[in-house]
């Protein structure tokens, strides 16, 4: 019998280290260097990552009266989220402006965000889901507005907060209704009680409301409008975090809801998500084509990526879950990498914002420029990078489910996407014209984070075998427990 505490060990470790960072921040001199706090937070997340891996060796099971469940599925996402948060913390250590206030809180918030996201991937009780989502969201709302002296910073945070709370409210409303219909908030019980639900309309309404909430979190069209504004105003290392980790967690939740709670409605949600997938890719890509601001462009491109991810749901069996798990990993690696480099190249005060500002990076610093090219190539989906296999698995899963058209639309979309990624890549490759700020300095933490992301992108493209194995183990363990 595994003690209940073991099932939430990573979350406990993360919470403790977050508190520790805050206490240490209070104990330090006001003028002291806050960088060690970043290293402390990084250490805590690393330990949590180790704990998540160790959790994977435990037999699968639930804890706290069936509200938390750990298995290969939750382990996969725990490790991924801890990895992303670790990279984001490392990126922030060098990238945050000197002498800024609240640096200690900044690192603590990142760690607290990780608590929520991790819990979200293992929660099987909708109220715990809601609490986890709030923990992660509130941390990211605050982080988005960290640069409050800038014009866009507070706007970014405010928009994210208002729209985000609205979306969480939708989710909560959905939870209330499903409780009304079935009398339970346990995800596995919902699936069994659904056929005997009191009112079919209530179930549909609940399902629709919950979907709105989750699709907002993964920024799928038509619930995507917040994304570009928020990314534009937030500090780049925070964008590296919030364009990946909360989405990874939200996708895990989406899978849990679709396959864990509502497998019976498969015939209903499948065509709906088809439409959302096509809409997300097309809207995201077409809007990204016209952007001049690099962060806004990548924001729209992340909407398109949500579409590619959702396309996998057209497959059958456990394949879609494995494809989604793999895609989130590859997507996280390349997005953390590109935002990390943008943060490095633009320097602490973020002097580069438009795509044209990135001209001449390759000539000035072959290492930074070359890595930027690598991540952009991966985002395009060129073979031998993680982005290719991610798309490959997603679309081949869709294809095996008979959705040839979806795959075709998706791949044509990735052709459109190539245009704007390439515009960025060409700017990086072209020689400088005029005056742009010099490329920022490489700190140890940045090197570790960016090289880890680059290494992951290449490994996922050249030897994806073991990550794919982990993803399909996660999918199978999920399927065997939920029994769909």
């Amino acid at each position: 019998m595994t003690p209940d505490l073991f099932r939430i060990l990573p979350e406990v470790i993360l919470t403790l280290s977050g508190v520790l960072v805050m206490l240490a921040d209070a104990a330090l001199e006001p003028r002291a260097d806050r960088r060690p706090l970043g290293w402390l937070a990084a250490l805590g997340v690393t330990v949590a990552l180790g704990a998540s891996l160790w959790q994977g060796s435990l037999p699968a099971g639930t804890a706290f009266y069936g509200s938390v469940q750990t298995d290969a599925f939750s382990t996969f996402f725990h490790v991924l989220i801890c990895g992303i948060v670790l990279a984001a913390i490392l990126l922030s250590i060098d990238a945050l402006p000197e002498g800024q206030h609240h640096r200690g809180e900044y690192f603590a918030l990142m760690v607290f965000g990780a608590v929520g996201m991790c819990l979200l991937t293992s929660a099987v009780e909708l109220l715990v889901v809601f609490i986890a989502l709030e923990i992660s969201s509130i941390s990211t709302y605050v982080l988005a507005g960290y640069r409050k002296d800038t014009e866009k910073g507070p706007e970014s945070a405010m928009k994210y907060f208002l729209l985000g709370s609205f979306a969480t409210a939708f989710l909560l409303y959905g939870i209330a209704m499903i409780f009304g219909a079935t009398g339970t908030t346990q995800i596995p019980e919902i699936a069994t009680l659904l056929p005997a639900a009191r009112s079919h309309t209530l179930v549909l309404l609940a399902f629709a409301l919950m979907m709105v909430g989750v699709l907002f979190k993964v920024s799928a069209a038509p619930f995507h409008v917040w994304t570009p504004d928020v990314y534009e105003g937030a500090p780049t290392p925070v964008v590296a975090l919030m364009s990946t980790a909360p989405k990874v967690a939200a996708f895990a939740l989406l899978v849990r809801l679709l396959y864990g709670a509502f497998p019976l409605l498969h015939a209903l949600w499948m065509p709906l998500l088809w439409i959302v997938a096509i809409l997300s890719m097309t809207v995201g890509n077409l809007a990204a084509l016209r952007q001049q601001n690099a962060k806004r462009m990548l924001a729209y491109s992340s909407i398109a990526h949500a579409g590619y991810l959702l396309a996998a749901l057209a497959g059958s069996g456990t394949e879609p879950i494995a494809a989604i798990a793999f895609y989130t990993a590859a997507y996280a690696a390349m997005n953390v990498g590109i935002f990390g480099l943008m943060s490095l190249v633009a320097g602490t005060s973020e002097r580069r914002s438009t795509i044209a500002d990135y001209r001449g990076v390759l000539a000035e610093s072959p290492l930074a420029g070359g890595l930027m090219l690598l991540f952009l190539i991966s985002l395009i989906g060129i073979p031998f990078t993680g982005g290719f296999f991610a798309k490959f698995y997603s679309f081949s899963t869709a294809m095996q489910g008979g959705a040839t058209w979806l795959a075709l639309i998706g791949l044509l979309n990735s052709g459109i996407a190539a245009a704007y990624y390439l515009r960025f890549a060409m700017a990086v490759a072209q020689p400088k014209n005029g005056k742009t700020a010099p490329v920022g300095r490489w700190g140890v933490a940045t090197v570790v984070a960016i090289f880890a992301a680059g290494g992951a992108t290449l490994v996922l493209g050249i030897a994806p075998g073991w990550v794919l194995h982990a993803a399909s183990t996660a999918a199978q363990s999920f399927a065997s427990i939920t029994g769909f």
Binding site: A363, G370, L373, F384, M399, G415, L422, L468
Partner: protein, 518 residues
């Protein structure tokens, strides 16, 4: 040795790339590493013809290692008579490209040569892959260095023309390969394999659903036709030739697409390719004429070379889709020829452009006295391009024309032959304007005075290419022997599936494609 020579050819340029990236960017160090590395690659590729068994059908030097279990992707490589000389050609042109960039690339040479060597691996990979997913990987990878290097080292960086040319090239080829990936996934979903031989057998067995298979073959055809490029899909080529650095432009067009057309369209879907053949023949014959006529009116030599290239690539397409043995081997030989001649011309135009900073032919004139070596070698390459007997261009064009004339259609052959005559007109015209005409244009006649002759290294390189042109022209059988056994198996299997030589007259394109086989 035979068991891993292809891996070696793939790895040596990558090792060179890593060496360049790790060593400092000092002086000519990256260029020297690239030169030595590409010479080493060339020596490795020479192992192939030396140990190739001409009479043996099927693939040789095969390596087959599992790469991923699900989906089943293998590192499966091998060469046959079709790809043998193309691999050697890549090996040969690698050092030529380094020599051509020797003076032109001064800044950021580390990035240039690292990307350049990556391109070598990608191209060899395309020619030797026998697993379609592996092939697709190398195919896409080969786009990156071309696009990046054009954007970074192109000619008109200031006004952004180079960046636009790079973008256009990439988008043309990348968009066209999106349906190709869907087609590959479809084939995988129905056969569970990406292996070339397995897929070939599955297509031949006729168990795959018919109309969808038709679309699959169309997706393959379009992806390759853009890359060749076939007439109508050639929009990227003139810009790229005007803007890209010489070493990149000389490898961007032609061989990858033509090889893929033969291997993955004609050989993989013989019956379906046969139905597309009348269209392709018509496009090819018109392309020959179109290329020649546009080349005739060009004032800049990059554009002249671009349209001349479209013409000679159309010749190859004509040979492929006639489904005759002669035409097919002519097409393969002509692909090699085009590579050799194009490389020589590109290198020499590059020297002219780099010293005179103009590509207007009228700005030159009377260079024969001032740059004798350049003039002599240029004339030889020019004559080879227009198909003078005893030079290599003649053999390829003759095989294609005779195959077309006897096996396919006299009127299309006549149109193609007209293109040959026109090619003589524009090439001799170019030689006249640049090297013979008196003093050049009065206003802008300065270009002629600053033009320099070939350096020693450049002379040796182009002389080697010129000797090769002569050698192929005088002794074509040495080179076609290896191809023929491969092509015979191809044509036999094609004929067995009903893909006999396409007999048609020019007016019957539409009628015959509507009615299927004749």
């Amino acid at each position: 040795m035979d068991g891993m020579i292809l891996s070696l050819i793939l790895v040596v340029p990558l090792a060179g790339m890593v060496a360049i990236l790790l060593l400092p960017d000092r002086g000519k160090l990256p260029a020297w590493i690239a030169l030595l590395d590409s010479l080493l690659t060339f020596v490795c590729t020479l192992h192939l013809p030396a140990h190739f068994h001409n009479q043996q059908a099927g693939f040789q030097f095969e390596e087959n290692l599992p790469w991923l279990s699900r989906p089943a992707i293998h590192f499966h490589v091998g060469v046959d008579g079709l790809s043998l000389w193309l691999v050697v050609l890549v090996g040969l042109l690698a050092p030529v490209g380094v020599v051509a960039s020797w003076r032109a690339v001064q800044k950021n040479s580390k990035v240039f040569y690292a990307m350049y060597l990556l391109q070598q691996t990608a191209m060899v990979g395309v020619f030797v892959s026998l697993d379609l997913m592996l092939y697709y990987g190398f195919w896409e990878l080969s786009l990156i260095p071309i696009a990046v290097l054009t954007a970074m080292f192109g000619r008109n960086l200031g006004d952004g023309a180079a960046g636009k040319a790079a973008l256009r090239f990439f988008l043309y080829t990348f968009l066209a390969s999106a349906p190709l990936l869907v087609a590959l996934l479809w084939l995988y979903a129905h056969t569970g394999s990406f292996d070339y031989a397995t897929l070939q057998a599955a297509v031949a067995s006729g168990t795959l659903p018919g109309w969808q298979l038709g679309w699959v073959s169309v997706a393959f055809l379009i992806a390759f036709a853009v890359k060749v490029p076939v007439l109508g899909l050639h929009g990227w080529l003139p810009d790229l030739f005007s803007e890209a650095p010489v070493a990149i432009a000389m490898i961007a067009a032609g061989k990858l697409g033509l090889y893929s057309l033969i291997r993955f369209h004609v050989e993989l879907f013989p019956a379906l390719a046969h139905r597309a053949a009348p269209w392709m023949i018509a496009l090819a014959a018109i392309g020959i004429l179109y290329g020649a006529m546009l080349a005739l009116v060009q004032k800049e030599f990059w554009k002249l070379l671009a349209y001349a290239t479209i013409g000679s690539l159309s010749f190859c397409t004509l040979g492929i889709y006639g489904f005759t043995a002669a035409g097919m081997s002519g097409a393969v030989l002509q692909t090699v020829n085009e590579g050799v001649i194009g490389a020589a011309l590109f290198l020499m135009f590059g020297v002219l452009y780099e010293s005179a900073r103009t590509s207007r032919m009228a700005d030159f004139g009377g260079l024969a006295r001032q740059t004798p070596r350049l003039a002599t070698l240029f004339t030889i390459a020019g004559l080879a391009l227009i198909g003078l007997p005893l030079l290599n261009g003649f053999v390829g064009e003759f095989l294609v024309l005779s195959g077309t004339f006897v096996g396919v259609s006299r009127s299309w052959a006549a149109i193609a032959a007209l293109g040959v005559i026109l090619s003589a007109a524009y090439m001799l015209g170019a030689i006249q304007k640049i090297f013979l005409a008196d003093g050049g244009d009065q206003q802008n006649g300065q270009a002629g005075r600053v033009a320099r002759d070939l350096t020693g290294m450049e002379t040796v390189t182009v002389a080697v290419l010129a000797v090769l042109m002569l050698a192929i022209g005088v002794q074509p059988t040495v080179w076609t022997e290896a191809m023929e056994s491969a092509l015979q198996t191809v044509t036999h299997s094609m004929h067995a599936q009903g893909a006999t030589p396409v007999r048609m007259e020019s007016g019957t394109v539409i009628a015959s494609s509507m009615g299927g086989r004749q």
